[in-house]
């Protein structure tokens, strides 16, 4: 007689439903894209051309789920998923990750650490990478994580990152999403901050046909500071759906979010953000800004900036704008001999860089600008 063991995560995954139209967390979103039923996980993959290594960084290269080269004293592969949770609408996908992810990269350091993770994605099917970054007291960790497609097949990447900072530590993280136009990405980015710690979590989206991103930052310790940055450059056939949550759970905490979307062709972006201030979290400073630069007459941007404030003595604000490059700016540049097309690109590039500069890390900024420029070069 044989016994089949079903892990609790798999059971939970099967219990949950895929998103439906009436889910408030999927308002304006393509809930149909989120249905991944019947998809199997991908097998072994291949590597592509390796980008220039970043100076002073430990580099780990993955081909789909396998580590193919590199190592770091501060990083270790642990079997299974760390079990991400979704509080912003994709519980089913979080459970999927928990049930089926092969291993988690556990990064832990109490000192200076620079780590570059390259994920080469190939073949059709599900790919479920997971990373936990633990910054111990006094640590200064920099992580670059790149998702690069090797071929044109329709991959579905469900990725989860959990950043945990101890007192007086700092984590700077840049994720670049350079997948092919047939792929989908569902990304969970969680961070939990202890007292006097700092996180700067940035993402650059240039690829994929559909992205759903859920960023949840718990600013839980006195004087903790969380920055969330995003630069997205969608074109025709691309939809980026980003949901964020800035959770202030302690006194005198700070958070700042800046999202810059430049929309080309028939691109669609959705931004839904919430600043949530717990009862008693007095002295909170929280900001949230989403700016959409509309480059064509056919793109569409949905913004839902939100606030839920349960404490007084707080400074919170959010702003959201949608507009195009102003004629004056174009005129000014053209008067100096720059063509209209180049002028528009210059302005748009400057618009994106404003968010990138907030990283305050030259190496990461250079990389981000490089990825952004590459996208601009593909646009007519």
């Amino acid at each position: 007689m044989s016994v089949t063991f079903v892990s609790p995560a798999l059971e939970k995954f099967e219990e949950l439903d895929w998103p439906v139209r009436t889910d408030e967390n999927w308002r304006f979103g393509s809930w149909k894209e989120a249905n991944l039923s019947g998809l199997e996980t991908v097998g072994a993959g291949t590597t592509g051309d390796l980008p220039e290594p970043l100076k002073g960084f430990d580099r780990l290269v993955f081909a789909n789920r396998d580590l193919v080269s590199g190592s770091s004293d501060a990083a270790e592969l642990v079997e299974g998923s760390f079990g991400p949770t979704s509080r912003l609408g994709s519980s089913k996908h979080a459970a999927l990750h928990a049930a089926k992810s092969k291993h988690t990269l556990h990064v832990r350091s109490g000192a200076d650490l620079s780590l570059e993770l390259i994920y080469f994605v190939s073949g059709e099917g599900l790919f479920l990478p997971g990373v936990v970054i633990e910054a111990e007291v006094g640590a200064n960790i920099r992580v670059v994580k790149r998702f690069i497609s090797v071929d044109d097949s329709a991959a579905v990447v469900v990725t989860a990152t959990d950043v945990r900072t101890a007192e007086n530590s700092k984590v700077t993280c840049l994720v670049t999403q350079e997948l092919n136009r047939n792929s989908k990405l569902i990304r969970f980015s969680d961070s939990t901050l202890q007292a006097s710690s700092i996180t700067k979590l940035a993402v650059v989206h240039t690829g994929a046909k559909w992205v759903r991103e859920e960023t949840y930052s718990t600013v839980g310790g006195l004087d903790a500071k969380s920055e969330i940055l995003s630069v997205a450059l969608p074109d025709t056939g691309q939809e980026y759906d980003q949901r964020t949550f800035q959770h202030h759970g302690a006194r005198n905490t700070f958070s700042d979010l800046l999202f810059k979307n430049t929309l080309f062709g028939k691109a669609t972006t959705i931004f839904s953000g919430l600043i949530f201030v717990d009862e008693g979290a007095h002295g909170t400073d929280a900001y949230q800004t989403c700016r959409n630069l509309m480059m064509t007459d056919e793109c569409e941007a949905h913004s839902m900036p939100g606030l839920e404030i349960n404490a007084d003595d707080v400074k919170c604000s959010h702003g959201s704008t949608s507009s195009r490059v102003s004629d004056e700016e174009i005129f000014y540049l053209m008067a100096r001999g720059i063509t209209a097309k180049d002028a528009r690109r210059l302005v748009a590039q400057g618009f994106s860089i404003e968010a990138i500069e907030r990283l305050e890390d030259e190496q990461l900024e250079t990389l981000a600008i490089e990825v952004v420029s590459r996208k601009f070069a593909t646009i007519e």
Partner: protein, 473 residues
């Protein structure tokens, strides 16, 4: 006790007095508790309505029954409404009165208790005073009638002015818009119908006073205002209600139609007692060059859900919502605005200010929609929240959809509190803490209060002062 606290006590006493009175109910028509097909037929029969209205009601009832409560996005407090414990129609059957002398003494007493000033009463000659489901007093100034202005109850409008009424009735807010617009469509009674002929600019604001004074009795007014080409009108409604032990439901539907170049301003001061569910659907349709402004102030009720909207259907149409909300202990003011741009070069503006006192909760919910292939649309949204106490709560949930690069939208929101420094500064100059707080709050909303007609803004400031009473210290 110094003279200042004496005045405060006195004012507070008056306030309680206004909120707590009642007088004997004598209703000739009563549809009983609960809502069935019979209720709908009963209302139709009493009101002697044409068959199409009865049919309209029945259809709406079906829609109401089939629609779920919107608790997937709205507060769960809605689940506390017991639809079977509500009386859907009450009327003493009196025909609208023509002069003050004929108005029943109880109603006059009501106006007394409301504190309507003597001067204003004279002005009330052009007033539609609603008492329970029917207008107990209705007298349109002759001058208005001479200009061809129609200002009647909604039931009168649908019977006697069907040719103007019917083409627009239920067109701005279809029955199935939401659960509560369907409910209103099924059991509507009372409300006004106003028609302003082309080019007529109504000088005086038209007013209506609404009152709920039967326990468990929900009021379901239906108002339709049509401003024909190039006309202008300002309509004001103010609501107060006595206190009752059990919750009451108020669910109105207000439709505005501004034809080419017309202007409509709709002003509301809502001060229901704190057990009333106030679930209102308000929307205006603005044609070419027309302008619709909603000026809205919510102070009372247990839960208010109200998002006045403007559909800008014609080129260069303009929509505006100016909103003040004050949420005190046990209150939730869930208000906002809906701006639907449906033509080129349309502009909309939303300015919302909310104040949360004690454990009060105020919410802003907004929608701005600019669809494809339009040019030159502009939206500006500003929402500011002021938190008075440690347990006060405020939320903001806007949604902005823009398609294309020919538009400009901007949204800004901020949350703040009255700073200690500001209070300290004012107390240094001899103001009490309460006075200082009151001054700070009035300063916060001052620029919006100025948008209200003078007599309203004075009343508004007084109401806000009263609400702020006891919130500090």
């Amino acid at each position: 006790m110094n003279s200042e606290t004496a005045t405060v006590k006195q004012v507070a006493f008056e306030k309680d007095d206004v909120g707590n009175f009642s007088f004997p109910e004598s209703h000739k028509f009563d549809a009983g508790y609960g809502l069935t097909k019979d209720t709908v037929d009963y209302i139709s029969k009493v009101k002697d309505e044409p068959a199409w209205v009865n049919e309209f009601r029945h259809k709406a009832l079906k829609t109401f029954e089939s629609k779920p409560m919107p608790t997937n996005w709205a507060t769960r407090d809605l689940e506390n409404i017991d639809f079977d414990a509500i009386r859907y129609y009450l009327s003493d059957g009196a025909k609208p009165k023509r002069s003050w002398d004929e108005v029943p003494p109880e109603v006059l007493e009501t106006f007394d208790r409301l504190g309507v000033p003597e001067q204003e009463r004279a002005f009330l000659a052009g007033v539609e005073a609603q008492y329970d489901s029917e207008a107990a007093y209705s007298n349109v100034k002759e001058a208005l009638a001479d200009e061809g202005v129609i200002f009647v109850t909604c039931s009168e409008g649908l019977k006697e002015h069907e040719e103007i009424f019917r083409p627009w009735f239920g067109k701005v807010i279809p029955t199935g818009d939401n659960k509560f617009s369907a409910l209103n469509s099924a059991v509507m009674s009372g409300g006004s119908f106003i028609y302003i002929p082309p080019g007529v600019k109504v000088k005086h604001p038209l007013q209506a006073y609404f009152r709920i004074n039967s326990e468990n009795f929900g009021q379901f007014e239906r108002t339709l205002i049509i401003a024909d080409e190039g006309s202008e009108v300002m309509y004001m409604e103010g609501c107060t209600a006595p206190k009752f032990e059990t919750a009451t439901l108020h669910s109105a539907v207000v439709e505005l139609v501004a034809m080419k170049g017309a202007k409509i301003q709709y002003i509301t001061v809502q001060n229901w007692s704190s057990n009333v569910f106030n679930l209102v659907t308000k929307r205006g349709l603005a044609h070419e060059d027309a302008e619709i402004r909603w000026i809205d102030c919510n102070i009372g009720s247990r839960l208010t859900m109200k998002y006045p909207g403007v559909v800008m259907k014609g080129e260069r149409a303009r929509g505006e919502v100016i909103s003040i909300a004050l949420a005190n202990d046990g209150q939730h003011q869930d208000t906002g605005a809906k701006m639907i741009h449906a033509a080129n070069n349309t502009t909309s503006n939303v300015i919302s200010k909310s104040i949360s006192v004690g454990e009060g909760r105020s919410t802003y919910r907004g929608q701005v929609h600019i669809p494809k292939h339009l040019k030159g649309c502009k939206n500006n949204t500003e929402c500011d929240a002021l938190l008075i106490n440690t347990n006060s709560r405020t939320d903001t949930y806007p949604a902005i959809s823009v398609k294309g690069n020919q538009h400009v939208t901007q949204h800004e929101a901020s949350v703040s509190q009255v700073s200690e420094e500001m209070l300290f500064y004012m107390q240094q100059r001899g103001l009490s803490e309460t006075q200082a707080m009151s001054l700070a709050v009035n300063g916060f909303i001052n620029d919006l209060v100025e948008e209200f007609p003078m007599e309203y803004s004075v009343e508004l400031k007084r109401l806000i002062d009263l609400e702020m009473e006891g919130s500090v210290g």
